[in-house]
């Protein structure tokens, strides 16, 4: 019993020690698990932000018109909007969510990522403004060779 208590305390202490490092960090996979299981873009945005209504302005999204290799499609996105978070969704894969970033006062919205796309589809980047509105940019592209087959 003594040992068990000691171990329990150790876990608690480790958890407490981790808190300052994470600060405002939010793990969307833990806080919003439904987002990662959603199959359509609209559904995923609704599960993430509570609404799927977005304003299509203020966000720049760059991706190739035709992706030769679906295994690594370069996607760049940037925005000058004062924002709380940014998330990327697509319609080519079984699930819609790709990634979600929490922003703070030091953040600059200027990201490049490489993603897998199984087939042709649409990529949507959503920026959650500090004013509570959702801003988005959309890009439809075709994929020559699907990238989910391994």
């Amino acid at each position: 019993m003594e040992r068990r208590k000691f171990l329990g305390f150790g876990i608690f202490a480790a958890a407490a020690a981790l808190v300052p490092g994470t600060l405002s960090a939010e793990d969307y996979r833990k806080t919003k698990p439904a987002v990662w299981a959603a199959h359509t873009i609209e559904d995923a945005i609704a599960k993430m932000y509570g609404t799927s209504t977005t304003i299509e302005q203020g966000v720049t999204l760059t991706a190739p018109d035709v992706a030769a290799n679906g295994g690594a499609v370069p996607v760049d996105f940037s925005s000058d909007i004062a924002a709380k978070s940014v998330a990327v969704f697509q319609s080519s894969n079984p699930e819609a969510a790709v990634c979600a970033m929490t922003l703070n006062e030091n953040s600059v919205i200027d990201f490049s990522i490489k993603m897998k796309l199984k087939q042709s589809g649409t990529i949507v980047v959503v920026v959650e403004g500090k004013d509570g509105k959702l801003y988005s940019a959309k890009k439809t592209l075709s994929v020559a060779l699907g990238g989910c087959e391994g």
Binding site: P20, G21, T22, L23, S24, A25, E26, D27, Y28, R29, W36, G71, A72, V73, Q90, N93, P94, E95, A97, V98, C99, A100, M101, T102, L103, N104, E105, N106, S107, V108, D110, F111, S112, I113, K114, M115, K116, L117, K118, G147, C148, E149, G150
Partner: protein, 97 residues
């Protein structure tokens, strides 16, 4: 993880590559192995969070990504950590140039 961080006009741009197979559920099923992919990536400079990204299986294999932030100085240390679905984690650090 490979990290390159460069400071220019007050904005630090970081290019990073994590070495990870990023197995989707589909691929893993075909290969008869367990799906595994990076689920969360964080970066800190001077104990301040500069990147906090939750990710899904649809980032590419060995994902390369680029991000930017303000408020760091040349010579500061940047520490990045990823966690995958099976709980493995890797931490790397680099110096902002």
């Amino acid at each position: 993880m490979e990290i390159k961080a460069k400071l220019k006009d007050g904005i630090t741009t970081v290019k990073a590559m994590a070495k990870h197979p990023m197995l989707t559920y589909d691929t893993a099923k075909k290969q008869g192995v367990e799906a595994n992919f990076i689920t969360h990536i964080t970066a800190t400079v001077n104990d301040k969070v500069v990147l906090d990204m939750s990710t899904s299986q649809f980032l590419s294999k060995n994902p390369i990504f680029k991000f930017s932030f303000k408020g760091a100085a040349a010579g500061d240390k940047i520490v990045m950590t990823w966690v995958d679905l099976l709980g493995a984690t890797e931490t790397s650090e680099s110096v902002i140039k």
